[in-house]
């Protein structure tokens, strides 16, 4: 039995035209030669910054886009020519509020997509009940979706993606905007799916999620795979580094840029958590930059300062920054 997902030299160029009298065509290469294989039953992560080509790659694999060049196969079927066979075998879930019929109940949403996705009529009732139990919407299924919370919508998305028991499930940032408890439930559901043999391709911005769930991870940036391996293998990209993490309030952008120019500093990044900012400075392991960094932050209100070993997130930042 072959791989669940095979992509070879996959490329996709978008053309957009602007202007009315002087028409101008702009070309954007969203995916620039992606090669990857995902084994059956594998939980594979695709990580990358916004605009890196993750969603375009998924659209190419799930038949919504045709590759400009290169090939892709799902369970052995070509995504460009054998679309019906591919669609029978894939499920697709994406994060966010949209993508459901708000005026219908959760149950009717599932009934409609059960028809569209070819679930035999005699199996529909049982399958929908199973999925409502799985995503913990049993008892709320007759309420209109417009009254659902974001977490409930997300769970309904997952139930919809699983209606026809797909062999390959694409999860495009499924936990975006979901509260921590719901996100944990979601991770458990995804892990259970993979454990029962469903191949999962997951894109996410949450490194902890990828680290916890994925058998292998590809980091994509600028339309190309920059690194591919197990989470442990990817972490080696940050080997030989140490990380200073500083809680701060109101760090100016030019200060961050200045930190990157300090001797021994490899990366400096700021993540906002409400009013609080987490400043992460990666340096060569043999160089202690903490003093210089704190000096450069003179005048900025600081909180806790700590030093730690690199994580997958640090490795990700190192990979993406180096691309």
């Amino acid at each position: 039995m072959g791989d669940a997902i095979e992509a070879a030299r996959l490329r996709r160029t978008y053309r957009s035209r602007t202007g009315f009298i002087r028409r101008r065509t702009t070309e954007i290469e969203a995916v620039r030669g992606v090669d990857l294989t995902v084994a059956r039953g594998e939980l594979f992560g695709l990580l990358g910054p916004n605009g890196a080509g993750k969603t375009t790659t998924i659209k190419l694999l799930n038949t919504l886009l045709i590759p400009t060049s290169g090939t892709a196969r799902i369970c052995g079927f070509d995504v460009e020519r054998e679309t019906r066979e591919v669609r029978r075998r894939i499920g697709y879930v994406f994060g966010g509020d949209r993508g459901l019929y708000d005026r219908l109940s959760g149950l009717d949403n599932l009934r409609y997509f059960a028809e569209l996705y070819g679930v035999p009529p005699r199996d529909q009732k049982r399958r929908i009940a199973e999925l409502l139990d799985l995503v913990k919407l049993a008892g709320r299924e007759r309420e209109r979706v417009e009254g659902y919370s974001r977490g409930m919508r997300q769970r309904l998305h997952i139930a919809r993606g699983l209606l026809h028991s797909p062999e390959v499930l694409f999860l495009d940032e499924p936990s975006i905007g979901v509260d921590p408890v719901a996100a944990r439930e979601l991770r458990r559901t995804v892990a259970d799916l993979a454990a029962t043999g469903t191949t999962v391709l997951l894109t996410t911005h949450y490194m902890a999620e990828a680290d916890e769930l994925c058998d292998r991870i590809a980091v994509i940036a600028d339309g190309r795979i920059q690194a591919l391996g197990t989470p442990a293998e990817l972490r080696t990209h940050a080997d030989g580094r140490r990380v200073v993490e500083i809680e701060a309030y109101g760090v100016p952008d030019d200060t961050v840029a200045g930190l990157q120019r300090l001797s021994g500093v490899r990366e400096a990044a700021v993540e906002a958590r409400g009013a609080l900012q987490i400043l992460t400075v990666q340096s060569d392991a043999g160089v202690d930059v903490q003093g210089e960094v704190l000096h450069a932050l003179g005048g900025v209100r600081l909180g806790r300062v700590s030093t730690r070993e690199p994580t997958l997130e640090d490795a990700y930042v190192a990979i993406v920054s180096g691309s």
Partner: protein, 261 residues
């Protein structure tokens, strides 16, 4: 059997999901009261200008009344997928596009038939038009054929929604054109030849002519010819809708022209 189920069950669920005017207030106000007042307006105008008798306007406008539900419904049946962000999930279905989308036209045609029957009854009662009881089965057939034909026309317009974002403009213009060109309010003989020719290809035109014949006491066999032409017109719009859906879906994959996700 499963295709039939997709056409019917799927069509009805999609209707409930995508049609904006299903709430009682919107349904009654927009789809029942509005067309009835339109009928009264043209009937009184016709009396004043002596363009045609009451039967001409009542029967014609009653058949045309289905166009609101069918044209705007067909547009909503596809255009609202963009609004809900569901188009990508629909296009990921392995089922036949023809069955998925043509099935959506059926509830709108049924809705149109209901509206046409209501408008005809209301108009006849208010203006005192007597329709021979023997003509009623034939009239019901004419209204059904007209509504179905108009439903497929609406779906063809809706298919343009896969390519063009501002599809509502086309629907609005189409409804106005039907008012003018279907011979419901302006006899085709009063129109320039090219406009009358366009009217011949629109739904409702021939169903209205057949209904008028029947309401005037003609035998069903006399109405069969315009009814047959209406069936052909409807079938042509259904084929065009299926073709447009196919072409625009392929184009969307090639040129990324849909914000599918």
């Amino acid at each position: 059997m499963r295709t039939l189920r997709l056409l019917t069950v799927g069509g009805v669920i999609a209707y409930r999901a995508l049609f904006n005017w299903t709430s009682p207030g919107m349904f009654v106000g927009t789809l029942l009261v509005g067309p009835l007042f339109q009928l009264l307006f043209f009937a009184y105008l016709g009396r004043e200008l002596q363009v045609g008798d009451d039967r001409f306007f009542i029967v014609g406008n009653a058949v045309l009344a289905s166009s609101l539900a069918c044209v705007f419904g067909g547009t909503m049946a596809i255009g609202n997928e963009r609004r809900f962000g569901t188009l990508g999930h629909v296009l990921l279905s392995p089922r036949s596009r023809t069955a998925v989308f043509l099935g959506r036209a059926l509830p709108y045609a049924g809705n149109g038939l209901l509206i046409a029957a209501f408008t005809l009854t209301g108009g006849a009662l208010l203006l005192g038009l007597r329709i021979p009881p023997g003509a009623l089965p034939g009239m019901a057939l004419a209204l059904t054929v007209g509504s179905l034909s108009c439903g497929f026309f609406g779906l063809a317009l809706g298919a343009l929604g896969l390519r063009f974002r501002d599809i509502w403009v086309i629907s609005n213009v189409s409804v106005a054109l039907m008012l003018l060109l279907t011979g419901v309010n302006v006899p085709p003989s009063a129109l320039p030849g090219w406009l009358a020719a366009i009217g011949q290809g629109l739904p409702i035109t021939h169903a209205a002519a057949a209904a008028r014949l029947l309401a005037g006491g003609a035998d069903l066999t006399e109405a069969l010819r315009p009814l047959g032409i209406e069936v052909l017109v409807g079938a042509a719009w259904a084929v065009l809708a299926a073709l447009l859906l196919k072409v625009f879906e392929v184009e969307s994959r090639r040129h990324a022209s849909l914000d599918t996700l």
